[in-house]
Subunit: 256 residues, 2 copies
Amino acid sequence: MCQLLGMNCNVPTDIVFSFTGFSTRGGRTGEHADGWGIAFFEGAGVRHFVDYESAVASPVAELIKRYPIKSKNVIAHIRKATQGRIALENCHPFVRELWGRYWVFAHNGDLKDFAPALDGAFRRVGTTDSEYAFCYLLQQLRRRFGDTSPELPELAVALRELCAEIAAHGTFNIMLSDGRALFAHCSTNLHYIVRQHPFATAQLSDEDMKVNFADVTTPNDRVAVIVTEPLTKNETWTAFGAGEMIVFVEGAPVAL
Amino acid sequence: MCQLLGMNCNVPTDIVFSFTGFSTRGGRTGEHADGWGIAFFEGAGVRHFVDYESAVASPVAELIKRYPIKSKNVIAHIRKATQGRIALENCHPFVRELWGRYWVFAHNGDLKDFAPALDGAFRRVGTTDSEYAFCYLLQQLRRRFGDTSPELPELAVALRELCAEIAAHGTFNIMLSDGRALFAHCSTNLHYIVRQHPFATAQLSDEDMKVNFADVTTPNDRVAVIVTEPLTKNETWTAFGAGEMIVFVEGAPVAL
């Protein structure tokens, strides 16, 4: 199994603190040493880093921890290979373009007997069930909405249905973003926290590192962090329900 | 105008030497300081780095110069903005998936009155004529060959026709790769060199740096480097003709 980390904010924020704790699980405090990846939206663009080395050993992960890339939507993944060999093309997150926007996707879990027809609009490059599911999701969105992106409420309805359909084949904890919203669907294990004014100090579970968010934020900042297992030991994280999909916009869950 | 750098090899090779000279033109010996990018194929996967900082100032470029990523196909670009503002989504190279493979594209030059209809299969995320041309190229390839990748000779014929069609709208120096071959089309300015046994020492034009390739290669290695302006001052580079497209496979031009 793999682990997922996502961040959705109302102002561009760096993910150095959360990624430092999270990436430690990629080979040191966790067994997820079969590659990792992270994607940051910056405006309409995406910075995409993937590596088949463990996140602990990777020089690219070292760069991410040192270089505070600011983003409103981030998705990261550390991999424990179950389907698909250890190779760059099998590292999450995956990126595709739909409706003139980039879409970023990462998945934790296994799917069984999942083999819907792909019409060729989106095809997987690697050999994972995860990339297959991503291609299917985008294909179905385009079939449903044609060449024009729907508004967020219609998109959320469609994604809820599609996630439920795919999750019937196994475990489908995912994060998906088009740079405007972050969609998180839970089959078995996902938690989130919203940090906002008044900010406090947080202490990582996986590293001896803490940060006082009051020192690095303004009172208007709002940041949602979504992760497989809580990253800090002195904050209260909310567990997703099984089958629940939450849409995060501007740093908070929205009812859609 | 921008500058392009490509590498195509018969064994995975690092591009540190060439990229060091090339990236110096991104803000120090050249005026191309409006962003840069590089993409490396590794198997079917792609490592894709883009930045809107100049290649001289970028911490990501610093990583590339220090961390020898080995690849058989690399495309890099430094940008002097002409169309499209300075933003991450306008940095080359661009990446899309077609026929279950990633395609990487970078362009130097301007296109005028280039506005063919896009059917939605590939749509640009940014605002450059370059990304527009890339989307059009891939769309036309899929229209022509359907859902299955043709063999290389048929692909080369199609790309030659498409490049000529687009180049009629202005300057279209490009590099394109699907990880198997590197296609380079020249309107105005492109040079290449093939390095193979017996290897010699090369001296960069833009930096006080030289390397004896005999020390870092085996006799079977073959590396083609393609670039806007020659990178070394003691080697003989071959200039492309106007309107010429050359296909590089396994480190050498092939007649297709």
